[in-house]
Symmetry: C2
Subunit: 462 residues, 2 copies
């Protein structure tokens, strides 16, 4: 009988074909018209879990998008139980006309050993690694080194509201010794990192309203505080010229960095700056001058204008309108110990302070997630670090990532287990952007790393 490693090598093409089927389901969670696709993706996962040998697989309905739970507990009570989390929802594909590597963001194509499609790396490709490693063990040894529970949600891109309720109501079902998430990345294939911190997120929508209808600028211009102008004036007060956020109290609960942490960030920044020049290529870097780029992304909070809209915007077109309303999407990445509810209140107080009585405004919270820092002294994290080192040839650097995975905090606090982030993304994966891709080299190395991780974990905690 072949080994799991042999099985993985022999079946790589079949794995990729299956992953492409999964990716073809346009499971976009953030807009309402993909509800059926969400259900389809959940059922696809459930069916796949049963097919590879999980003994139980179920789709749970929620208030919004379904949750998939599956388990195989055949390793026995003496072996650890691992809960693997992933999300089958993806970001919207727009602007669709900016994709250059595929005709359709949901019709994957392979170019230069990279798989291009929405969801390729975030998170369909990454969660798929665990399914294939399980399959490889089952097909070759008839067993798996640890007890495995799988939890896949469809609202990660929406801050996981349904999942939190589900965890609250299913603490026994989800009970485990360690939680594993493959939804992060590393600065380069030469530099594995062990993510131990994730930023939180506050996502808001600001609406400004003035005249009760759109107006002709020739007839009313000069007598109306134009909402498109007013929203710009409000948004423009939120940063100073150095990129500091000017909302009173915003930085109050931001923890200082230790010298050790700053040293790690210093090493990260060298690679980050190089990669920034290649991927971003804006005229100049921007942001708080007291912190280096890796610190600004990993350990400092941000306030971003994810969108702004008002009036007539058709390119090259003209309309002399004063719009009656304008909208901005404003989100904050938060770090320990910032609380999203408090930041929301501070943001409202700021807008109230800077906005004149000539217009009306409303700030709505769309979602929130608290920041999290993981204790790095757990055996599972050491095992993960060793697995990275064995496959990538280097001991990983401990790092905090700029993104947010809302459920990490929940696993830490509700399930009371260490959370291991075994991620295989790369900086040029174009997450949330056109031409999202997953390096197939990283897919292969991910399969090997994850296999080693389960094997070693089984021994260390057996």
């Amino acid at each position: 009988m072949t080994t799991p490693t042999d099985y993985v090598k022999a079946n790589e093409q079949a794995f990729i074909a299956e992953l492409m089927d999964f990716i073809r389901i346009p499971s976009v969670s953030t807009t309402p018209h993909h509800a059926e696709d969400m259900l389809k993706a959940a059922n696809w996962l459930k069916d796949h879990c049963l097919r590879i040998g999980m003994t139980r697989a179920e789709v749970f309905e929620t208030d919004l998008h379904p949750i998939v739970y599956a388990e195989w507990l055949g390793a026995g009570e003496n072996k650890p139980t691992v809960l693997v989390y992933g999300h089958y929802d993806v970001q919207p594909a727009d602007p669709i006309d900016k994709w250059t590597m595929v005709k359709d963001p949901f019709e994957p194509e392979i170019h230069d050993d990279k798989l291009y499609a929405r969801g390729a790396t975030d998170d369909k490709g990454q969660l798929f690694i665990h399914l294939k490693v399980f399959e490889a063990y089952m097909k070759t040894t008839g067993s798996f080194p640890v007890n495995l529970k799988l939890l896949f949600e469809g609202e990660e891109e929406l801050a996981s509201a349904s999942l939190f309720a589900f965890i609250d109501n299913h603490l026994d079902l989800l009970a485990c010794d360690v939680a594993v998430i493959s939804d992060t990345g590393m600065p380069s294939p030469d530099m594995p990192i062990m993510v131990y911190g994730l930023r939180g997120l506050l996502y808001t929508e600001l609406e400004v309203t003035g005249p009760r209808k759109d107006l002709h600028s020739g007839i009313y211009g000069g007598t109306v505080h134009n909402p498109a102008q007013a929203i710009a004036e409000i948004v423009a007060t939120m940063h100073d010229a150095d990129g500091h956020i000017t909302v009173d109290g915003f930085y109050d609960n931001v923890r200082d960095l230790s010298d050790e942490e700053r040293e790690d960030f210093r090493r990260m920044a060298i690679l980050f700056d190089e990669e920034w020049r290649e991927q971003v290529d804006a005229p100049q870097m921007w942001g708080e001058p007291e912190f280096n780029s890796a610190e600004r992304v990993g350990a400092r909070p941000t306030l971003e204008i994810n969108g702004i809209y008002g009036g007539f915007v058709e390119r090259d077109g003209q309309k002399t309108v004063i719009p009656s309303w304008a909208l901005a999407k404003i989100s904050c990445r938060l770090v320990s110990d910032q609380d999203p509810d408090r930041i929301f209140d501070l943001l409202k107080a700021h807008i109230k302070k800077v906005t004149p009585p000539t217009i009306n405004w409303e700030l709505r919270m769309l979602s929130k997630a608290r920041p999290v820092v993981i204790d790095i002294d757990s055996p599972a994290i050491r095992v993960a670090g060793d697995a990275y080192e064995k496959i990538f040839g280097k001991q990983p650097v401990f790092a905090r990532e700029g993104g947010s995975i809302p459920v990490v905090l929940s696993f830490k606090e509700q399930l009371n287990v260490p959370v291991v982030m075994l991620g295989f993304g790369l900086p040029d994966d174009n997450l949330h952007a056109p031409d999202e891709k997953f390096s197939l080299e990283m897919f292969r190395k991910g399969l090997q790393t994850v296999a080693v991780f389960y094997d070693e974990l089984s021994k260390s905690q057996g």
Copy 2:
């Protein structure tokens, strides 16, 4: 034989039905995909002119949208020749879902003696008055009091570039004693006004670009000057808290108002403020405190943000993106003696001054029109004033309007004739906005006023 007045009364329903046919052609000039409709509208006008008795009617091709010219010169050399100008192009109908009085902005409906549709008042309904008065005379007397030339363009909403070239090349064809335009309004049916000034217009598009692609805010947030934020920061520097425009040199060539003009504006402002509360209903009035509302609209320049866009803006949706670009539509209403080219340069210098090197920007001029003030001491303007008084019961107030009709300056300077603005719009006509309408009462009074005007002009200059 009946009189022209009787004919108009007897045929009102037929006139409205014809006007509705004209309005049903969606002749939107400002976006490229209505080119065929533009040609259709021009041909409709040409055919209609021939049907009502014009002896010549022709569609002239231009670089963009066609121009219609028609004439009837049967009054003879001893009678004045009047050139009537109108435009058959209309503004875009969006936001279409904000129209409440019609299902389709190009399918007119009559409610409460008002005709609702895009173009009802601006300018299809108003130019149609001249056609119907001509028809009434021809059908009842076989003749018309003056020689009539008609000039209809399709680029008024785009600042009339093709028309200027056409006038330059057809000075003999267009030679006349007076030009007449029905494309303005009055504060209320009780207060006819004689418009003698129109603001100019500079329409620009500002594009801000930063990263070479859309980015994930978790991965790059804090290191990139976000274009959606940057465009807001630029736009926010253009006014001070009192509504003054802060672009250096912007007010340099703005003429001071005479005491007499300010007295006229004072009377206008009382009505304007009342109508503002009804039509605009924003929380508070806004603008330069040293000037009253009518002055701010009629005699002061403005700078408006007609549109702003960047990133993800789907209502209630979330996307944690840093967009790679953002766009704003910025237009200025100009007054004498501001020059649009100079203002464009000042605007560029301002943006250069306030924009940091962390992003790139470009300001493009989309169109321009110089402001104009008409000499009010011409006999034709006196005749027009008398016609208003006869039908509306009051001598009109001399007024400057906030809108822009680019061709007025051209008639004044290239044809060297007085320009009479015989307008019948009302402030609640929703120009350039959803639920545009034309009051049928104003249509009827317009027909009477225009008939009296031609009749009296024939006598005064015969």
